[in-house]
Symmetry: C2
Subunit: 327 residues, 2 copies
């Protein structure tokens, strides 16, 4: 009996939490509790799409940009693309016996991630080059796809694509239904995201902007290939996000959503015009997801948090108190 | 009477030429004579959009890329963007007295274009830097817009945007009506094209890919700006076109249209898959436009012409014999 009681309690509690928690019974954005953030989103969209409103925005200017890591899916304990890179190093190690003694590869093989991260950007770049270049885009994306099918996040024991945020996917769909062109503008690799993000977020490959290595086109015996080189083409972070938005979209977005100081520049850029808005996913939920901001290396949110507190059209999304469900 | 006769003849001849010339009376693609190229376009679109066809292409894969200079508008006697740059040098000269004696600027001021071009890429790059950098994108585009309103092509005494090809605009519209996503992939500057191309071709700014200088984002006193730097970010020509298609679109186009060897790589890339097609605008009409191919510096068409003659799904568009009207 005791066991059944416990089970009933768990089921009821989970049932009530996801469906009947206060403000969690709406048909519009159902994973968002009624509250400040949901109101901000709905008001923004209603005004932008209402021809009678003085905040109406023409369809061609309804550009919305979203960071990915920590904004559309989780990013802890560290970026999922890095997990992929580390797993690839292990898979490739038999062909690279020299890695057993060579930093930073030996640290990866020994699961000594502290030492990997202690090596800073230089170490990470070496790992990225070893796992992300010297192959065609096609070959690389095949490897990403295979990894995604097998790999699981350790804490939640779920596929990484199952750690995309349900409320954010509802927000994307709501914007798309209202003729917004939704873009990802992420520090993550563009070729990495293009494998799975189109399906996860209903965002086509050509609306995904990210960091990238240089590409090299060759044509041999009637066979054209594009190979990923070991040199950086663009780092899509901070000012780089705005520069890539200018280069690739050529238009100022009217909505920018992020979760860290890396997104602050694109939020400033978007909200330097009328009828615009910025939102920050604030990681406040250590039970259901993670809790971090000013002191975290991954998803460091400090100066953008200060700016959000000062500006009327910058909104903080309180994950713990405003999201009925996370995943 | 004689004068009237001549006038009647001219009117009749022009009337007959544009409206009743053989094969020029169709409601579909009206500026295209019935013939090989028109048939190729219509067949291609009908198959790609017919779910019963084994050449059906899903909407999200209907990506079509077009070169601009010489493919969608004229490019002779030299690229119109260069005319803009030379005109800007002249307009800026009062603030730069040193240019009177400094190459290549002095050649521009003396209208000695032979000497400008003799300086090769290095000279042109200096002119581009002087006229295309050191200002915000907004300021630059304002200057382009003002120039376009005033400047006229010398041979035709028309605004440059009036020298866009009517048949190609019909082809773009036909593709767009059939859910193709049409892109410009041009060696011209992306910021230059974004000023006028969206209106001219019904192609939004975010579907325009071109050469670009680096951008620099700054945020001062609450005012964000993006400045154009004097360093090259990307040259969108030859292999660069494919590399930019990979970077920005992330998908292989099924249709690539160009007019020179600079477009050969992207035509090879597009047609390395089934259900694809390449087309080349062949400048064969010295009376109504220009006639050039293998021996021309601007719009040099040599090796791509050879390849087109060998490949079934590469089509030459004979401007003189297949276009009822040019502009």
């Amino acid at each position: 009996m005791r066991r059944l009681h416990v089970l009933s309690f768990v089921m009821l509690s989970s049932f009530s939490y996801t469906s009947f928690a206060q403000g969690c019974n709406s048909s519009l954005l159902p994973s968002w509790k009624d509250g400040k953030s949901k109101t901000a989103i709905v008001d923004f969209v209603k005004q932008a799409t209402n021809k009678e409103s003085d905040k109406f925005v023409a369809v061609e200017d309804r550009i919305a940009v979203f960071d990915n890591d920590g904004t559309l899916w989780s990013e802890k304990p560290y970026y999922f693309q890095l997990v992929f890179a580390f797993d690839q190093i292990k898979a490739m190690a038999t062909d690279h016996p020299e890695w057993k003694t060579q930093e930073p590869f030996k640290f990866v093989l020994e699961d000594d991630l502290k030492s990997v991260f202690a090596g800073g950007e230089k170490s990470l770049l070496e790992i990225v080059k070893a796992t992300h270049s010297g192959m065609t885009v096609e070959e690389y994306q095949k490897a990403v796809g295979q990894w995604l099918q097998a790999a699981k996040d350790k804490r939640f024991n779920k596929a990484y694509t199952a750690l995309t945020y349900k409320p954010m996917k509802e927000m994307l769909a709501y914007l798309q239904d209202n003729d917004f062109k939704t873009y990802i503008v992420s520090g993550g690799g563009v070729d990495f995201m293009r494998v799975w993000a189109p399906q996860a977020y209903n965002i086509p490959q050509e609306q995904i902007i990210g960091s990238a290595l240089k590409y090299k086109y060759s044509y041999n015996d009637g066979k054209p290939t594009v190979v990923k080189l070991g040199e950086i083409l663009t780092i899509d972070d901070k000012a780089g996000k705005v520069e890539n938005i200018q280069h690739i979209i050529g238009k100022k977005p009217i909505l920018a959503v992020g979760n860290s100081d890396g997104d602050q520049a694109m939020m400033q850029w978007a909200t330097s015009q009328p009828h615009s808005m910025a939102m920050i996913v604030h990681h406040t939920d250590e039970a259901r997801e993670w809790k971090y901001d000013r002191k975290s290396d991954v998803g460091h949110l400090d100066s953008a948090l200060d700016e959000a507190n000062k500006r009327d059209n910058w909104h903080l999304i309180d994950m713990k108190n405003e999201w009925c469900e996370i995943y």
